[in-house]
């Protein structure tokens, strides 16, 4: 890997890599859109199941507005800090990239922590995914999003170490770009979740 960062051959490899980079980005975008279809169907399922509470608690009794609001702000802030990391990649500042990625990781971990505590609280009061059609679809939709965010966190950690050890190579920059697409995409899905699940459930 070292010879790719220094000397003459590096520039050639970089130019070639940049060409493939656009194709990789489009391919990743196609993956994201197919993921969006999965989420849309989970939203559709939720919309059908939301009234099927069969005597078990509904969203009104289970959701907390402030909790969801803080989750929303955490994820939004993490999207912005990732944007700053992207800006730092453009400016070629390795340490800033590492700092903003760390901030994104902490905010994302905070979001997942809050989600897990919500899930745990619901299961503890007897409102687990096995209790009603509503709760099954709720845990499937919100849990699938949470799983995506968790995967994103692992991805951030891996790239953080990569940038720390190898520096801001074209390879790392390219991977960070696609990770950014993934992370911003998950924040858009969350807009759907608080607008379809939490806010209607609480009003």
């Amino acid at each position: 890997m070292n010879d790719r960062r220094t000397g003459g051959p590096a520039a050639e490899i970089t130019a070639e890599y940049a060409k493939q980079d656009a194709e990789r980005a489009l391919g990743f975008w196609i993956y994201l859109m197919s993921d969006a279809v999965i989420f849309a169907l989970l939203f559709g399922t939720y919309a059908v199941m939301v009234t099927r509470t069969v005597g078990e608690p509904s969203g009104h009794a289970l959701f907390h507005l402030t909790h969801t609001f803080i989750e929303t702000i955490l994820l939004l802030l993490s999207s912005v800090t990732f944007g700053f990391a992207t800006a730092a990649v453009t400016a070629g500042r390795r340490n800033e990239v590492l700092a903003w990625l760390l901030a994104t990781f902490i905010l994302g971990t905070g979001f997942i922590g809050m989600e897990l505590s919500e899930f745990h609280g619901m299961v503890a009061q007897g409102a687990g995914p096995d209790r009603s059609g509503f709760l099954s679809s709720f845990f499937t939709l919100v849990g699938t999003h949470g799983l995506h965010v968790s995967m994103g966190l692992i991805w951030i950690a891996i790239l953080w170490v990569q940038v720390l050890v190898r520096g801001l190579t074209p390879f790392a920059a390219s991977r960070l770009y696609r990770l950014g697409l993934f992370w911003h995409f998950l924040d858009i899905v969350w807009i759907g979740i608080f607008s379809v699940v939490y806010l209607p459930g609480l009003r």
Partner: protein, 105 residues
């Protein structure tokens, strides 16, 4: 190297604008639900409109999607996904609502 600070500032700006707009488009629906200022139906309509608006804000300021040629391919894929979603999710809701009606639920 002198261009670096400007370059960083320049590329950070859209994220800050996007953040400001996103906060606004988040606080309004949460406030409406907290205060119950509007009827349930009106609140739902406002939530739907602001969610779409915030989605557009994220696409533009965070994912840099616009009508320029560079992102044209992505826009086409997005539109295709939207059509699939409309057919599959929209169709699901239509059929299930119709079943509910016919079964008198």
């Amino acid at each position: 190297m002198q261009e670096s600070p400007d370059a960083a500032k320049h590329t950070m700006k859209p994220y800050l604008i996007g953040f400001g707009l996103a906060v606004l488009l988040t606080v309004i629906p949460f406030e409406l639900v907290a205060t119950k200022a509007l009827s349930r139906t009106s609140t739902m309509i406002v939530i739907a409109i602001l969610a779409l608006a915030q989605g557009a804000v994220h696409l533009h300021y965070f994912l840099h999607l616009d009508l320029k040629s560079a992102s044209r391919e992505r826009l086409v894929v997005l539109m295709f996904a939207a059509a699939v979603v409309l057919l599959m999710a929209g169709g699901t809701l239509w059929i299930m609502a119709d079943l509910n009606y016919r079964m008198g639920m």
